[in-house]
Symmetry: C2
Subunit: 332 residues, 2 copies
């Protein structure tokens, strides 16, 4: 993409043009060379949104809950964005499986921006893309960003790191409490929700979760355990209140050392990701110095570890490999 | 670790000392600076093992199936290794949840090496660690390497890329066929297994899976759909035979272009991983050139994308950051 085109897109983004937002998210999804430029340009505008993570096993009613939350926040006049990272979500691919009927009520509301991020084909880059899309949604001016994932895999868990407040949703069914513990969701929860709380076993699972909260070290935040029936709009106001309470808690307990640590971690991820993507583009598009080494690897004459060492320990080759400028110029 | 100590460990590894294998795997898990040296040294010995992936939803009976497979391959006189990547596996953390009774029958057999890899705390490096541990198990001289994962997350799916033959295990319960499709397991299966095939609905799920196989493009490998009762040793011989048949198919259809592609992909992962880990160590242990930039990021005065660009586009800083030699020397 030519610089003038990118600039015009960023200008439109700054004027809250939703189409420009969509285009920039697509750039992030496609991992084009412009992503880091985009992020540099919008970064200073971000940092105002409240980011809420909603996770739990499939069938826990997360999407219905998200729909209700959207309604509550819209009633407060807030701008809401949803990023659904979940192949079974009605926002993403779930529709083919008959979930179409549950499609959000807020589809036509200009104050709600809904986007799905496919878990396919990202090969480890999913959490990077999610982090950058959240930044875009934040910089665009959304007050509330809801991240919806199925909390089963390591990548999906790492996406929850992006949330200020993580809501773990369970249902009274099939020893779900044990499942939550197995999946490592227990440790990341700031708020527990027992949804479909009219079903048998809701009290038992609530007691289990409260016990697990009790076993946490004293002194920190104690996750409340809430009962909801999202489909009936029962318990959602209490959920909004607890998310608000957690947000206030975070603001009161802001720890400069932890903030600094979080920034350092984000930086390392960005740096590693940037190096990885530049390298991938260079090897795909041709990088003079590394060509011979790469050919040896392809033919099986050089093992990948020795090849990596040769490239990393040769300043000229490494620098050529990571220089995007020439290649980006050629593509325009 | 001093070079002499590492050399002695590698010598013992070459003499098939299982304790040395265990120590080297631990190095990989801990991501120490020696990992790339270890991989360079053992790489040429790898490439002989048949790598079998076993995946499916929790409760499908994967571990029982793995136990049976171990028995069959041991009866053939083969050396077998199992790498279980699954918090709920009896080989890894599942024991605390009452799975201890299902602990492998082959625990004391010197021809069977069992290791678990925790999904916790890897932050995206899980598939890298898994790849390197498989290389170690392979170079050690194992004939069969069984990779067991719960096929739910993107990371777990990417681990299955390491397998020559991927077996997807389902059970006739709760619309599992649909679950398989949702999770993207359908596309990666080389062999389908309907386990607990004595239960109601086994024929239906078999038919569903066969239909999905039928919908694949013609000409390639058609995954067979097998019925097993792992707990009764029913259908396991047929599974072994189909894995063997798939292995033969792969050997017959060896495609130099695809081999080259696979090597290129592995190299890119190794290179990116090596750069990422060297960077992380440098930022942790102190890298002169990058110190000032890193401090600005920590204090929130510089956004991570601009910081990454400054480091990458400065040859001297980058080279210092990626030079492990000085720091490694200091640690010895």
């Amino acid at each position: 993409m030519a610089d003038t085109k990118l600039n015009s897109l960023l200008d439109r983004f700054a004027r809250r043009d939703r189409l420009a937002l969509a285009r920039l998210i697509t750039l992030v999804e496609n991992r084009t060379a412009e992503v880091s430029t985009v992020m540099e340009r919008i970064y200073a505008q971000s940092g105002h949104a409240c980011i809420i993570g909603i996770t739990g096993a499939p069938g826990a009613g997360k999407s219905t809950l998200v729909n209700r939350l959207i309604g509550k926040y819209r009633a407060q006049g807030k701008l809401v964005a949803v990023l659904a990272i979940d192949p079974s979500s009605p926002f993403s691919g779930g529709a083919v499986l008959g979930d179409r009927v549950r499609m959000t009520d807020h589809y036509k509301d200009a104050g709600v921006y809904i986007r799905s991020l496919s878990t396919r084909g990202h090969h480890g880059g999913l959490s990077r893309a999610a982090r950058e899309i959240v930044k875009l949604l934040d910089a665009f001016g959304h007050d509330i960003i809801i991240l919806e994932t199925v909390g089963v895999g390591q990548t999906e868990l790492s996406v929850m790191d992006l949330a200020d407040t993580t809501v773990v949703v369970t249902v009274p069914e099939g020893g779900d409490g044990v499942q939550v513990m197995k999946a490592g969701l227990n440790e990341i929860a700031d708020v527990f929700v027992v949804n479909k709380a009219d079903r048998d076993g809701a009290d038992r699972i609530k007691a289990e979760l409260e016990l697990s909260v009790h076993l946490r070290p004293a002194g920190g935040w104690r996750p409340p355990v809430l009962m909801t029936q999202a489909s009936m709009d029962v318990g959602i106001d209490a959920l909004v209140a607890q998310i608000e309470r957690h947000h206030a808690y975070l603001n009161e307990h802001r720890d400069p050392a932890r903030e600094s640590e979080r920034r350092a971690r984000e930086f390392m991820e960005v740096l590693a990701g940037e190096i990885e993507e530049r390298t991938a583009r260079a090897l795909r598009d041709g990088a003079d110095g590394a060509e011979a080494i790469f050919a040896d690897v392809r033919h099986g004459n050089l093992n990948p570890y020795s090849a990596a060492r040769r490239i990393i320990e040769d300043r000229a080759i490494l620098s050529d490999l990571l220089s995007d400028v020439r290649r980006r110029g050629e593509q325009e």
